[in-house]
């Protein structure tokens, strides 16, 4: 798994209650050095070393079995080699909480995904049981990868909550809730609504959304077919194990052929056994693809946020335009569109000059506010687009690099499998020759 790391030191570890201005400032500072820049990973080693089963009472006071993961951290320093790292235990749900916090707090960042909660696209040999040791092991690796992704992200690595997640055992949950991030979260309804009604989203985000959908579809399909192929390959190799058994039995009744058959049988057994390693390696490749499958959710989240911001801007601008029109009507006395005002003035007569003046005052005030709001929303939207797009470019580069490497490693795996096959069958050929 790839993670960024650059030559420069980590800049700032912010404190919990940053104001939004400070946060912006931070972002600006860190963005300057984004390229090879700040990376927590350079300063400390982070690993998810172990997994353990615990029992405890859950929220409905029932006993449950769950897994905890040991997070170890150690400063990267020649002098600290050999010193035991700091460590603490965390459950999967805490990782989820951390991620949700990051998603809300940094909506312009494509936040790395967590490994699967439940084993889904698996081939038959791997069980879909969450307690299965192989699944737990792969999840451990996935969680470590998640932490590395966050720790090497130019923006996220500076987050204090993240730092405390890694280093401080108690009270972390309280701290997260205290940030009030849950209140900042956009409601699903709001987001869906915005997605439908937004008029002018930035074209690049629309494209990105389509790309995410496509990538999700294609990766799901690819992973499913790969799992089926793995299943079949397993079958082919394992049946050859029968050759081993029968050759061995047959060699007992033969004189001249006995030795050749016996050794050929051993090679057939070796062949059958070799598939386990082959497929385990391939599982890593599948996990790399899965990570990017899950990344598509994060991409879509950023697009949604943009649509929401854009929508809110549009709403505010619309509101301003409305108010402007109202002012115009009031000033000129004309009623251009059907309005209740127009109706009531027709029915009940025009208002007095004082009334009109008062109304105008209110409107002026509202207009000023509206213009401020529009300016603010505009800036917000622009900022978002800018920062989001920077991160999206970063993500794209990361994705291209990672997947290219994954494809190469896949080819390497295939080559290794072929070499093993050549060796086994060449040996078997020799044995048959001696028959």
């Amino acid at each position: 798994m790839m993670a960024d790391s650059g030559p420069k030191e980590v800049a700032v570890i912010g404190n919990t209650d940053l104001t939004s201005a400070e946060l912006d400032n931070n972002i600006k500072n860190t963005m300057v050095e984004i390229e090879k820049g700040t990376s927590l990973l350079r300063k400390m080693e982070i690993s998810v070393a172990e997994a353990e089963k615990r029992t405890g009472k859950n929220t409905v006071n029932m006993q449950e079995l769950y897994t905890v993961y040991l997070i170890e951290t150690r400063p990267v320093d020649a002098l600290t080699e050999g010193i035991t790292p700091d460590s603490l235990w965390r459950r999967y749900s805490e990782f989820e909480l951390l991620r949700n916090y990051l998603l809300v707090t940094y909506p312009f960042v494509v936040v790395a995904p967590l490994p699967e909660k439940r084993a889904e696209i698996v081939w038959h040999k791997l069980s879909a049981d969450n307690m299965d040791p192989e699944f737990v092991e792969r999840r451990r690796v996935g969680l470590e990868n998640f932490l590395h992704r966050v720790a090497s992200h130019p923006v996220l690595c500076n987050d204090n909550i993240f730092y405390i997640f890694l280093t401080e055992d108690k009270d972390w949950k309280e701290m997260v809730y205290e940030t009030g991030f849950q209140a900042k979260a956009d409601s699903r309804l709001k987001a869906v609504n915005a997605a439908f009604r937004v008029k002018n989203p930035d074209g690049r985000f629309t494209e990105l959304k389509h790309y995410s959908d496509d990538l999700q579809t294609v990766l799901s399909q690819l992973l499913r077919v790969r799992a089926r192929v793995a299943d079949r390959l397993y079958g082919v190799y394992k049946v050859h194990g029968n050759y081993g058994r029968v050759f061995s039995e047959w060699s007992a009744i033969e004189k001249e052929m006995g030795d050749g058959l016996q050794s050929a049988g051993h090679h057939m057994d070796a062949y059958a056994a070799s598939v386990d390693d082959i497929l385990e390696e391939e599982e890593h490749y599948a996990d790399q693809l899965k990570e990017y499958l899950f990344y598509t959710d994060a991409l879509r989240a950023v697009c949604r946020k943009h649509e929401l911001t854009q929508f809110e801007l549009e709403m505010v601008a619309l509101d301003l335009a409305c108010k402007k029109q109202q002012k115009e009507e009031l000033v000129t006395g004309t009623v251009r569109t059907f309005s209740l005002k127009g109706m009531t003035s027709k029915l009940f007569g025009q208002e007095t000059a004082e009334q009109r003046e008062a109304k105008l005052q209110v409107l002026e005030h509202q207009l000023k506010e509206g213009e401020e709001a529009v300016k603010e929303k505009n800036t917000e939207s622009d900022e978002f687009v800018k920062t989001a797009w920077v991160d999206i470019e970063r993500f794209k580069d990361q994705k291209d690099r990672d997947l290219k490497e994954a494809l190469i490693s896949y080819a390497v795996m295939q080559i290794s499998m072929c070499k093993k096959g050549i060796q086994v069958w060449t040996n078997a050929k020799e044995c048959f020759n001696k028959m």
Partner: protein, 467 residues
């Protein structure tokens, strides 16, 4: 130069043992023109019926190359079976195969024959050969129908497989020192269709064949008492071999099935990479590359499965049938011995009868008929003596028959074992070779891809290093 063996060697028409067959056999190895046997050093050893024959690997391998013999002058008969054709009559539809024979053997009038034969004709030939040489091992014919899977007799694959098996059948007979001299074999290869029909009608009639079958059944029920140790050993081996080879047959068919299913999935796998490449920019080339690799591996897999089906599966299947043939041969040998033992028992009983002092029943009977007791007894003795003499003659013949059967089997047993070793070794070797080839080709495919990838990173690092 011609071979000295003619029709003498094939005891087709009678049940009597050719008196000086051993003499004939010894003549063979003095003849320099023994093309058929020259690779079989057993003859060079001078004793064809020596079960523990030593053969060099060279001769063993050469003996197996029935279709193409590098030393052209060592084979004097070449047979091919090809050109299946469908014939439709009012009653039935059937397939005939062309049987082409080229030979320099003197018992054939011509040097080349082209006839058409149907499966029934092959069955007839096999039956005749087994009848005449009940303890020789005749190579099995392909089965009448495929039991599982396709029952359609006119399916292309079925016909092709059958044709190859028929071809092998005839060539094995041609290579057999005794069977290839059979008159029936010669007629099969040379007679026109109507001639063959006429010829088939000759020979022991239905009733006499029935009589033989009844005797065989009776003997098999009686069972054999003193089977020589070596035949028991052979029988045990055949039991085990039959189990093992059936297992291997099933395992190999299962492998073919699994490979085919793997191939099906693989065919769907490549296109997903192509589909993905449509959404990507930087990655598009690599993804298409991977898709291409997978597609090429598909082709190789297809070839590999084909080879397995063509090479290993038919051979294993043949030897499953062989095992059944061997069991039948052993049974027939047992029956011959059982018949001999039965006659011996009858002889012993008769002797007891004769040597008995008096037979109460006979005495009484004789006196009822008014015979002189002395005379009656004398008559009885004479009668029994006569019967005993007859029995002794029959027993002598049976004894010879048993010995001949045993020797034939022993000789052929060694021969069969060598054939079996050669065939199976060659089939497995070929399979392993093909598998190595398969993996080597796939390796090349992926290595080429990898090479194309490795050239790019050097460009990338340059890009990274420039500020």
């Amino acid at each position: 130069m011609s071979r000295t063996i003619d029709a003498v060697v094939s005891p087709t028409q009678t049940n009597t043992i050719p008196a000086d067959i051993s003499g004939q056999m010894l003549d063979l190895d003095e003849d320099d023109d023994l093309e058929v046997f020259s690779k079989d050093s057993t003859l060079a050893d001078g004793n064809m019926f020596n079960a523990s024959m030593q053969t060099s690997p060279g001769s063993m391998v050469n003996q197996c190359k029935f279709e193409e013999d590098e030393e052209g002058d060592s084979k004097d008969i070449f047979i091919t079976v090809d050109n299946p054709e469908s014939h439709v009559t009012a009653i039935e539809t059937f397939i005939t195969y062309r049987v082409l024979t080229k030979t320099t053997r003197s018992e054939f009038d011509n040097s080349e024959y082209e006839v058409r034969r149907r499966y029934q004709d092959f069955l007839w030939l096999k039956g005749k050969l087994e009848e005449a040489h009940s303890t020789l091992i005749v190579h099995p014919l392909p089965e009448k129908f495929v039991v599982k899977g396709m029952v359609e007799r006119f399916n292309g694959d079925f016909i092709a497989t059958r044709r190859k098996a028929l071809h092998k059948f005839l060539n094995r007979i041609a290579d057999h020192p005794i069977l290839s001299c059979s008159e029936d074999f010669k007629v099969f290869l040379s007679a026109q269709a109507w001639e063959l029909t006429t010829y088939k009608k000759q020979g022991p009639g239905f009733l006499s064949r029935m009589g033989e079958t009844v005797r065989a059944v009776a003997n098999s029920v009686r069972g054999v008492k003193n089977r020589p140790e070596e035949f028991t050993a052979i029988q045990e081996y055949v039991e085990d071999f039959s189990n093992k080879i059936s297992c291997l047959d099933k395992v190999t068919q299962r492998i073919v099935k699994e490979q085919k299913e793997y191939l099906e999935e693989l065919k769907e796998y490549g296109p997903t990479y192509t589909l993905w490449s449509g959404s990507e920019e930087e990655l598009a080339e690599q993804l298409k590359g991977v898709a291409g690799c997978i597609e090429r591996c598909c082709k190789e897999t297809e070839e590999q499965v084909g080879h397995l089906s063509d090479t290993l599966v038919p051979v294993l299947h043949e030897y499953v049938l062989c095992a059944e043939t061997l069991k039948a041969v052993l049974r027939r040998r047992d029956n011959i011995q059982a018949e001999f033992e039965a006659k011996n028992e009858t002889l012993a009983t008769k002797k007891v009868d004769r040597d008995a002092e008096s037979s109460d029943l006979g005495f009484v009977w004789g006196s009822l008929l008014g015979k002189n007791p002395e005379e009656a007894r004398h008559q009885r003795q004479e009668r029994l003596d006569g019967e005993i003499e007859e029995l002794k003659e029959e027993i002598d013949k049976l004894e010879d028959r048993v010995e001949w059967a045993n020797n034939a089997l022993k000789g052929d047993w060694g021969r069969w074992q060598r054939s079996m070793r050669g065939d199976l070794k060659s089939a497995f070797f070929s399979t392993a070779e093909k598998n190595v080839d398969y993996y080597e080709k796939c390796l090349a495919v992926w290595e080429t891809f990898l090479l194309s990838q490795r050239t790019e990173p050097s460009e990338e690092t340059d890009r990274d290093n420039t500020p």
